[in-house]
């Protein structure tokens, strides 16, 4: 566990009662923690105080006498005496409320915030009755859109600066600001510059009144009709805590929960609005079987499971493989792992889709960082994908560490990344040259002396991952090895998919058994065999090996569990070849996709908000996820499907329910010995518990290596990096997000563009080995020279999957 400097404690008196609080803590917080709620509008515990609304006035005894002051920016000091209830205070607070209300419309009954509005609540609690204001209220045109997601009703705004502070201070997108001054101040964007922030929804959540509203929620429900349940977002593996809110069995809103360890209450708009996919009309409702003519038709569960059991039973266990499971809960992943290893009896199991780091690196490090280590670092080394695009919650944490806590940040990336603005140093390199950059950084090359100096002092937290899809997993491994050599460094290796770390921990990896036990660890395997019976002794194939095995015919059947290797994998063509070569493919999914069009059987599974269980995030923190709505139609929980399938295959999974599986995990998975739902569902460990290091994984050795990506003959190496809003299934089925995917373009450094005689905006042909694209050119001075950047995961670009080197030429036909 990361240690923190314990704050010096002081004793202060609040309304006559002595309390011990950390010195320098704001009185508003000290009071709240000791049971006295001081009313407030502008104060937000995660942002710097501005003392603007003046609602939190209290009286404090000072050597210069009793003063009236705002509690939100008054730091606690020894022997301070605070009065939150005096007549002066009460009169002043009533006055403030009256001032706020004189220009605030009284449209609570139709306001989205009605029922959960502090202004409304406090008016009832403290406010004056009759209005003494006979003048005309301030008038503005009714709600105006600030972006595709957020609307602003300026009449309701109380100018608390929470939204503007969030955008500027927390997310670093100062796109909404105060305009005008005094009585005519308002919050607005610049003309034709919408509030296009990945984090815009947070402003809606923290707006204390109904001034900011989210289009996907507007008029959907009234707060008093909502049911809410805590859960964890599974958009990425950062483990952001959320509250899922439903009205009449429909998820209508997701809000952030302030988890001190993960998201600090913030969510990306993707986390927040992707719930729309849950209720998409295109969700799979019944099992489907493909007939001789290749047409899918609905089937009963009985028919479908008989067919699957029959097909899987007709080949050798080790001719069956499974891809996926990273979007399932730990309990589902565990059931799948057990099903594959004990009922099917195959080692060819991979939760990843061939586009990430080795599982041993992801979950096997002994100096693996927690997210909090970002806060504790003196220097953060970030050599991974663009966090803003791939890991928005971590982006905010790193940004916070740099801007508020003073950490130094080194960003190594082929082009401008979201954190460059706050970075102390940025290093750009052409994909393919990463190994060389690393060697120079690690040696005493002059060019990297400044970076080396930062890394050699104090605490270092290294965040490593694949910067883009053309780069080899050997690069992040080598970076991790280098970081490992720095004294006191901690390493946070990244993989993106929702519960990929849980899936690996549950043994959905070709080299790992449940609980981070390496298959080569004989004692560990024997221990598991004592529960499960005999297990395959060798490591299995990873996804790329599985696809190759299907093509070569060594493998016959494939399970895809929430996986779409055609779209998500390293090489779409190879994936298609593999899927069409397979004798039998069964897909467990929520939607039809590019891969399960090759499946003979498709089984509808419950997804996010429909299943109960646990998930494990990027740092190994286990948290509880909950079920608040039933899955659509006949969809079922994965574990229950597998349980029934086992019976049909003459096996015994024994997965009576998710809670029972959780108990079994704690019994057989060494790293999860201390795991139980009660621990993480209630009480002090609600923020989740980081599972200790596994004992079965061998210490890892890395050699800096060169990924060997070379571009000769005027060709450019490709940087194929992910963007937040993609053409993926869930976004495609969330109408409010689907439109936000950027238009594709190919980016070149100005010198490369001029060498090729190309100009900005012109349409070019980008030719790779296997595919070519027609894209507009962006001249981008933030690019490394010799590289071309194309967003990797857009509808029009993902087909470029396996491409590493491209040539670019004028498409002809002018602009």
């Amino acid at each position: 566990m990361p240690e923190r400097q314990p704050a010096e404690m002081v004793t202060i008196t609040i309304d006559g009662a002595a309390v011990e609080v950390p010195a320098g803590e704001m009185i508003i917080k000290s009071a709240e923690d000791s049971g006295t709620y001081i009313p407030r509008f502008c104060y937000h515990p995660r942002m710097k105080p501005v003392g603007m609304c003046r609602m939190c006035l209290v009286e404090v005894e000072t050597p210069r006498g009793r003063i009236l002051t705002t509690a939100c920016n008054m730091p606690a000091a020894e022997e301070m005496i605070v009065d939150t209830q005096s007549e002066v205070v009460q009169k002043a607070q009533e006055g403030i409320l009256e001032f706020l209300l004189i220009n605030h419309p009284l449209d609570c009954p139709v306001c989205d915030k009605g029922g959960e509005c502090p202004l409304q609540d406090q008016t009832v609690a403290y406010g004056p009755g009759e209005s003494r204001f006979v003048e005309e209220k301030r008038h503005y045109e009714k709600p105006i859109p600030l972006s595709d997601l957020v609307l602003m009703d300026r009449e309701r705004c109380i100018l608390c600066a929470r939204c503007t502070r969030f955008s500027e201070e927390v997310s670093g997108d100062p796109l909404i600001e105060f305009v005008g001054r005094g009585y005519s101040t308002q919050v607005i964007t610049f003309p034709d510059e919408p509030f296009a922030s990945y984090f815009s929804g947070n402003t809606v959540e923290i707006c204390p009144v109904g001034a900011l509203t989210a289009k996907p929620y507007r008029f959907k429900a009234r707060p008093w009709d909502l049911d809410a349940i805590e859960s964890v977002s599974m958009v990425d593996s950062s483990g952001a805590s959320v509250s899922i809110e439903t009205s009449q069995n429909e998820v209508v809103r997701i809000n952030g929960i302030d988890n001190d360890k993960t998201n600090h209450g913030w969510l990306s708009d993707k986390d927040r609005f992707i719930f729309q996919a849950i209720h998409s009309d295109e969700r799979l409702m019944t099992p489907m079987i493909r007939n001789e003519a290749g047409v899918l038709h609905a089937a009963t569960w009985g028919e479908a499971l008989d067919l699957v059991a029959d097909q899987l039973g007709s080949v050798r266990g080790d001719e069956v493989a499974s891809i996926g499971g990273a979007n399932s809960t730990n309990e589902e992943a565990f059931a799948l792992s057990k099903f594959l290893r004990t009922v099917v009896v195959t080692p060819h199991v991979d939760a990843q889709v061939g586009d990430s780091l080795r599982p041993e690196l992801l979950v096997g490090l002994s100096n693996r960082a927690e997210i909090d280590d970002i806060d504790l670092a003196d220097t953060i080394l970030l050599w991974a994908g663009d966090l803003k695009e791939e890991f928005p919650s971590l982006y905010l944490r790193v940004r916070h560490a740099v801007t508020e806590l003073g950490a130094k940040l080194i960003v190594v990336h082929p082009r401008r990344a979201g954190l460059d603005d706050v970075a102390t140093l940025t290093v750009r390199y052409r994909p393919g040259d990463g190994g060389e950059v690393l060697r120079k950084l690690a040696s005493n090359d002059e060019k990297y002396a400044a970076a080396r100096n930062l890394l050699s002092e104090g605490k270092v937290t290294a965040i490593v991952g694949l910067p883009g899809r053309t780069e080899d997993a050997a690069l992040p491994e080598a970076v991790a090895a280098y970081a490992n050599s720095l004294p006191g460094a901690k390493i946070l290796p990244l993989a993106r998919r929702g519960n990929v770390f849980g899936a690996l921990d549950m043994g959905l990896a070709p080299t790992l058994l449940p609980g981070r036990v390496h298959v080569g660890n004989a004692a560990g395997r024997a221990e598991l065999e004592s529960h499960w019976g005999p297990l395959p002794a060798d490591a299995g194939r990873d996804t790329n090996g599985i696809l190759a095995g299907l093509v070569s015919g060594e493998l016959k059947a494939l399970l895809m569990v929430g996986a779409d290797p055609v779209r998500d994998g390293r090489d779409p063509r190879e994936a298609r070849r593999a899927l069409s070569s397979a004798d039998f493919v069964v897909s467990f999914d929520m939607f039809l996709n590019d891969s399960n069009q090759y499946a003979s059987v498709i089984l509808p599974v419950d997804g996010f908000a429909e299943t109960e269980g646990s998930v494990t995030n990027v740092e190994g923190r286990v948290q509880k996820v909950n079920r608040i709505v039933p899955g659509p139609g006949q969809s079922r929980a994965l574990w229950s499907i597998l349980d029934e399938l086992s019976v049909r295959m003459g096996g015994q999974l024994g997965a009576g329910n998710a809670a029972a599986i959780a108990k079994e995990i704690a019994t057989v998975a060494p790293a999860y010995r201390s795991f139980n739902w009660d621990r993480i569902e209630w009480g002090p460990e609600r923020d989740g518990v980081v599972m200790p290091d596994g004992d079965g994984v061998q210490p890892l050795q890395y050699e800096p290596s060169d990924p060997g990506l070379k571009a000769a003959g005027g060709r450019l190496t490709l940087h194929f990096g992910r963007v937040l809003y993609d053409g993926g299934t869930r976004i495609a089925h969330s109408p409010s997000l689907a439109a936000l995917a950027p238009d594709p373009a190919v980016h070149l450094h100005p010198r490369d563009a001029s060498a090729l005689a190309l100009s900005d905006g012109q349409i070019v042909d980008v030719v790779g080995d296997e595919a070519s694209l027609h894209l507009p050119l962006r001249i981008d001075a933030t690019m490394a020279e010799g590289a071309a950047y194309i967003p990797a995961n857009l509808d029009s670009t993902w087909v470029f999957g396996a491409t590493q080197v491209v040539s670019i030429a004028n498409a002809g036909g002018g602009e």
Binding site: P49, V50, G51, M52, C53, R54, M55, L57, I67, L68, N73, V88, K91, A92, E94, G95, I96, E98, F99, L100, I102, N103, R132, F133, E135, I158, L159, A161, F178, G180, R181, G182, Y183, S184, T185
Partner: protein, 432 residues
């Protein structure tokens, strides 16, 4: 009473061109700088300023030497000269900037040396282009002579001076709003603490002083702090530039020693009331100050403490005189309107309260007053400045909001019958 004209003697001696560097140097200008850079330590300079006991001339009258003593040791540090002068009734800094910019620059050099500052800023309100031109030209002349820039007079001391123009916002006179403005932000006052001396411009230790305060520095160092402290009254020393305006025979700036009575200032110095009318009331220290009336205040002394005891302040040294013909409700409305217009908008009570007050006064003036408005006005004032005491308690970050209370409490205290008469007029059916 005999006293030296510390600030304005050179303007009298050189009525045409006191602003030129040659004239300034011809009259001994920049000699104090030479004396300081060649023979004094920063500590000695600070000690003189402390012993001079000069109170800041920007409004709050905080002793400059004590403020300088608060400057935190971190580097770099900055000196910012406050030339935003926007308090209604005030135009003294304008004269100092226009007529004797080198006196200010010499003060800046000496002060910067004393404070360990290598970059000073002179913030001048945007509506003062001529003063800004004069100061900019003077800065350039000083650079040309080597009085500014690198290694001044071979002393090893470096100083750059940047002249910055405001954009039209009274609140930027408040020192932390001024710093925000100088940083390229909205001119909104900051929460205090931290005070500028600890975290000011770019979060570095910063001293903010008024133009007049810094213009006094060369004389103080030349003649010694004690000589300065010997002028005027014991609790407010030195001379001060007062801006006289309103219904006076002789409006304009005057430099006088502290400690005259208001009677002397208004009748002797200001020439008395135009057309020999009766004095009705006056604002003793800029629009923010509660008003004085002849019945009670003519013999009060013009010092910080005497004025404070009488319930007002000397503020920016602006004396606004109103004669018997003045409609005091209209005058109060004008002042409240000013504060409503200049509120930065951060604090709820200031943003909403000042505008509400302005609207009610407007109604009163236009025959739509109600009896309840009198209590309402006072209660709104009470919600901006609890207790309506002096010095004001505040529900706001800075004193701008409570400043709007002063004219209202003033008319309610001294001229309530006139306010009541307006309400009564509204109650009567309009006659055709």
């Amino acid at each position: 009473m005999s006293f030296p004209l510390i600030l304005t003697q050179r303007m009298i001696d050189h009525p045409a061109d006191s602003h030129l560097i040659d004239v300034y140097e011809g009259a001994g200008g920049y000699d104090v700088m030479r004396k300081v850079l060649s023979g004094m330590t920063p500590e000695q300079v600070v000690a003189e300023v402390k012993s001079a006991n000069i109170q800041g001339r920007g409004g709050a009258a905080f002793p400059a030497g004590i403020k300088w003593g608060f400057l935190a040791p971190a580097e770099p540090r900055y000196l910012v000269v406050n030339g935003d002068e926007s308090e209604p009734g005030t135009f003294k800094d304008r004269q100092l900037l226009e007529r004797d910019p080198h006196q200010l620059i010499e003060g800046v050099i000496i002060s910067s040396f004393a404070l360990g500052v290598n970059h000073a800023f002179i913030y001048i309100r945007g509506e003062y282009p001529k003063p800004a031109r004069r100061v900019q030209q003077a800065v350039e002349a000083a650079y040309a002579k080597g009085h500014l820039g690198h290694n001044i007079m071979g002393s090893g001391f470096d100083l750059d001076v940047t002249v910055h123009l405001g954009g039209g916002a009274y609140i930027c006179g408040e020192e932390t709003a001024l710093l925000n403005s100088l940083e390229g932000l909205r001119g909104e006052p900051r929460l205090k603490p931290p005070f500028p001396a600890v975290e000011g411009l770019y979060a570095k230790p910063t001293i903010v002083n008024n133009v007049e305060t810094i213009s006094n520095i060369p004389w103080i160092i030349d003649n010694g702090g004690e000589a300065f402290a010997a002028i005027g009254d014991e609790n407010s020393v030195g001379t001060r530039l007062f801006s006289l305006s309103g219904h006076l025979k002789k409006p304009g700036n005057v430099e006088v020693p502290m400690g005259l009575t208001w009677r002397e200032l208004i009748y002797d110095i200001g020439g008395g009331i135009r057309d020999d009318r009766e004095l009705k009331t006056w604002v003793p220290g800029g629009a923010s100050a509660p008003w004085f009336v002849p019945e009670h205040h003519l013999d009060v002394k013009v010092t910080k403490d005497d004025v404070a005891h009488a319930g007002s302040m000397l503020g920016s040294g602006a004396v606004i005189v109103m004669d018997e013909t003045t409609n005091v409700v209209a005058a109060a409305h004008r002042i409240v309107k000013f504060f409503a217009h200049e509120s930065c908008g951060q604090c709820t009570p200031c943003r909403e309260g000042t505008t509400w007050l302005e609207n009610i006064l407007w109604r009163l003036l236009n025959g739509a007053g109600r009896q309840s408005d009198i209590e309402l006005l006072l209660d709104i004032c009470d919600n901006i400045s609890p207790g309506l005491a002096w010095p004001p308690k505040m529900t706001t970050i800075c004193p701008l909001g409570p400043s709007a209370v002063s004219p209202i409490t003033s008319i309610m205290t001294h001229f309530r019958d006139e306010v009541q008469a307006m309400v009564d007029l509204a109650a009567e059916p309009a006659s055709a």
